[in-house]
Amino acid sequence: MSQKIIISALFVLATLCGQAQTHADSVYTVSSSEVVVQREKVFNAGTYTWKADSVLLAQYAPNTLGDVLGQQTGMFVRQYTPGTLATPIMRGTYGVHTNVVWNGFSLQSPMNQLIDFNLIPAFFMDGIELAHGSQSALYGSGAIGGTIGLGQQAQTRNGLHGTVLLGAGSFGSYQQGAKLGYKKGWYTGRVRYFNQTAQNNFTYTNKTKFGLPTDTLKNAQNWLNGQMIENYFSIKHNIKASVTAWHTQAYRGVAPLMFQEKSIAFQRDDSWRVMGDIKAHWKKSEGIVRAQYFDERIRYTDAASAVPINSDNRAFGLLLEGEFRYHVSPLHDVNFGLNSSIFKSTADNYGTPAPVQYRPSVFASHRFHSLNQKIFTTFSIRQEAVTLRNTQNFPLLPTKLPGELRFLPIVPSIGADYNFYRKFWLGGKLSRVYRYPSFNDLYWSPGGNPNLKPEDGISGELRLSYKKENTKWVINTSVGGYYSDINNWIIWMQGLGGIWTPRNIQRVVARGVEVQADVKYTITQKQYLKFDGRYAYTQSTNRKQGSAFDDSYNKQLIYVPHHIVAANVSYGNRFAYIRVSGQYTGKQFITSDNKRALPAFKTLNVFLGTKIKVQKTSIDINLQAKNLLNAEYQAVEWAPMPQRNFLLNVQFNF
């Protein structure tokens, strides 16, 4: 029945628009040159975005996503010591509220809803884009603080091309990477490999010990290894397909915090992701069908824990999505999609039967732009449903629903950009946001709370921008503010019998101001000077008081700095470049009553590089001088960060 309605609706739309102009709007035509052709790029009116260009990504080739985003975007990437779990703090919300989307699929673990930024090598990505704020209407649960899009781009040149990367740095850090691409006729493919080892045996002042001795960090060694295989097929002139497999493995020591005598904790990560898609475009429409399977496993051992830990947490997922876009007229585009996701986890603490969660959703968007390209609007809506805890064992592909289906909030979103005066734009967005609890929240035994409601709220933003582009200058600057009010915020608290359990107890209001300026001056054709800077002021407070003595009421959430600045000045010519990159991370409170805080810290990194061209090949030699001001700081309390250190890398391109 509903299928029939959709088909007839599409038919009506198609006939109505058939009379209109047949020239397809090329703004978002699926083409192999687009890095990340995702919904948020098309239906994104009123969204504050950031995008890494290929120059930046080459400079960060030996680093991870955590380094790129933490140093460049004005978000706070919280990590203990280098290479350990890195999660974002964006717009006053936490890692679980920021979605990372790889080629259209969320990478959030169903178990803890986190993505470890230090497990994603920048070398594997041809595009990194960040959309601040809510994308719940496009990507569903969890996309509250922001959405990060990652993707690969098929090689455009024919033949065999590639890059070999070799890096070496302070504290026993070494990187080896290679990517090798091939294109001929209907086939394009690439293999990537990245390997990183680091000892992280740096010294630091131990502020917890008598006499403030200089200690050497131990058990902070880590190993990260990844492989990726991409295959792109041009089946017909208008049909393309791709299959990509990505394997990541890591083995990391969990370094002791300053007050701990030692640590013998280790974490082993292993994940496999395979995704495929088929994209087709016709005169006035496009269709995408994509699928992803993943198997991720985190093993953690700590023989010195209160209760010796030897945990094995594994999750599987099968995600299918179909999307159909129709150019109704040159001014109107619509998008319809269906998503069917199923997750299963065999983590020790979830008990039996292993939880299986089926999460179907349906989403739709409309986009309008005025003939003079001065007004853009988008409207999106999404409805997701989720099954409750299964009472019997199910395979990942069950033949019936693995539990009763519950509908989550319907999420609408409306946004607009308006070129109201010369180069000035006004943008705004209003949307509902939500986050469905993670497997840990729901099923962890003991303590998991299957009766948790989704976090649910609204979010709005306004932004004034100035955009100018000519042969000499590219200026893009903006100032904006946002306001989010999220109810049923989930907090883990110790309950009766000392068992920690999550409850929907807080209401969080996050608001702030974000200022951004990107200015590029082209001195000559081969010579540029560039400044880009981002500042975020964030006020994220708890609006519910648990008891008369609860001093967390109206206080800033822990780990959310009020002030974050990231700024770069760079110069480049044909032979060399220099990038001076500074970050300021403001004071972050570490107790909910705001009585204790970690001091603000400044880091200054300088990137220097030279390019040597030999016929059709080139060699890039890059030096990263990190924490040049030798700041002694902690991003997480009692976890030391290294002082001045260096990383040298050579990239051979052919």
Partner: protein, 348 residues
């Protein structure tokens, strides 16, 4: 005349000198506030365990008479943080021993000045300390969460001299009849240790985890035992003469018990359950149904010197907690303390 003048001058000088002596001796008598006499710490130490892996444990002191709170004693006097997860405290040989669980150490401070006199490190996961009376303050036992031992420390050298093998998670201890009674969670038993041999000599099996242990006026050992799916929580009385259970009072189904305490005269037991803090006479055969105070608390203990009940509330476990003191006359005071108040130590 000249003589008289000289005498006057001399007297004046003497007076000035004398007054200086008197004044300065007055100052001495007044005492330095940083180095209080032992009697200055008359009251309750509040043990704030802090957040796990946050390294923000602290110790506060609440004076019994003045009702005055002094915060962060250890870090203020010793200029460094106490550590991670402050678990328990013991007094012996003019020192306080502060057991800091997740820092694997015991901080030793002078009981008069609170100045650090040493750190006993590398203790695994220390929980509680006890000095067997027969050792005359020369050795201490320290229970451990995961190392399957009881550490034996020399209190003269402040080092670990040996260990007593004891499988599983050992918790709090008491001394009765010359033996040491140790709660052991993993094995759901109370073990009996002979301090002259440093060896386990007996054990008493229970239905579930023993989470509290005290000795009453009759020198009987009381143990609070948690509930399982099939057995209720209970208070168990052990006779140290034969190490057998001679009495037991069951809680209602679904009720919990924790933080067992006893008053100074050893005739009244106190505990926390689901709904609040309760008081029961050691002679009782049933449990009271009316709480002394209702609410959800993280810690509770009774001042043996004045009978006040101290209740700790950790609020959200991530901010300064509160302590409520209920005096025997029923009057209550609530004040803010450090992060996650998990216990108390009373001194007179």
């Amino acid at each position: 005349m000249k003589n008289l003048n000289q005498i006057f001058k001399f007297n004046l000088l003497a007076l000035v000198a004398l007054s200086v002596v008197v004044l300065s001796s007055c100052k001495d008598e007044g005492g330095d506030p940083i180095e209080p006499s032992p009697s200055a710490y008359q009251g309750a130490f509040i043990l704030n365990e802090g957040g796990f892996l946050k390294g923000n444990a602290s110790i506060d002191f609440y004076s019994r008479g003045e009702a005055k709170l002094t915060q962060n004693l250890f870090s203020n006097i010793n200029s460094r943080p106490l550590g991670d997860v402050f678990q328990s405290m013991y007094k012996a040989n003019g020192n306080y021993y502060l057991v800091v669980n997740n820092s694997s150490k015991i901080e030793v401070v002078n009981a008069e000045t609170f100045k650090s006199v040493g750190t006993i490190s590398n203790l695994g996961s220390p929980r509680f300390m006890l000095v067997p009376s027969a050792s005359n303050g020369s050795k201490a036992y320290v229970t451990d969460l995961f190392n399957n031992v009881i550490h034996v420390l020399s209190l003269t050298s402040h080092t670990q001299t040996k260990t007593i093998d004891l499988n599983g998670w050992s918790e709090n201890m008491v001394e009765a009849g010359g033996n040491i009674y140790v709660n052991n969670w993993s094995n759901k038993k109370v073990y009996v240790i002979d301090p002259s041999a440093d060896a386990v000599k007996d054990s008493i099996a229970l239905t579930d985890y023993p989470n509290g242990i005290v000795v009453d006026a009759n020198k009987k050992v009381w143990v609070s035992v948690d509930s399982t799916a099939t057995t209720p929580a209970k208070l168990v009385r052990i006779n140290p003469a034969n190490n057998s259970i001679e009495g037991s009072i069951d809680f209602a189904t679904g009720e919990t018990v924790s933080k067992l305490a006893i008053n100074g005269t050893g005739d009244k037991l106190y505990y926390l359950n689901n709904t609040g803090v309760f008081e029961v006479a050691i002679s009782a055969s049933t449990l009271p149904t009316t709480a002394k105070k209702t609410g959800s608390f993280y810690s509770m203990d009774v001042d043996p010197f004045d009978g006040s009940i101290y209740l700790g509330d950790a609020i959200d476990f991530n901010q300064n907690g509160t302590v409520t003191r209920i005096k025997t006359d029923g009057s209550e005071t609530t004040f803010k303390v450090g992060i996650v108040p998990n216990g108390f130590f009373f001194n007179n």
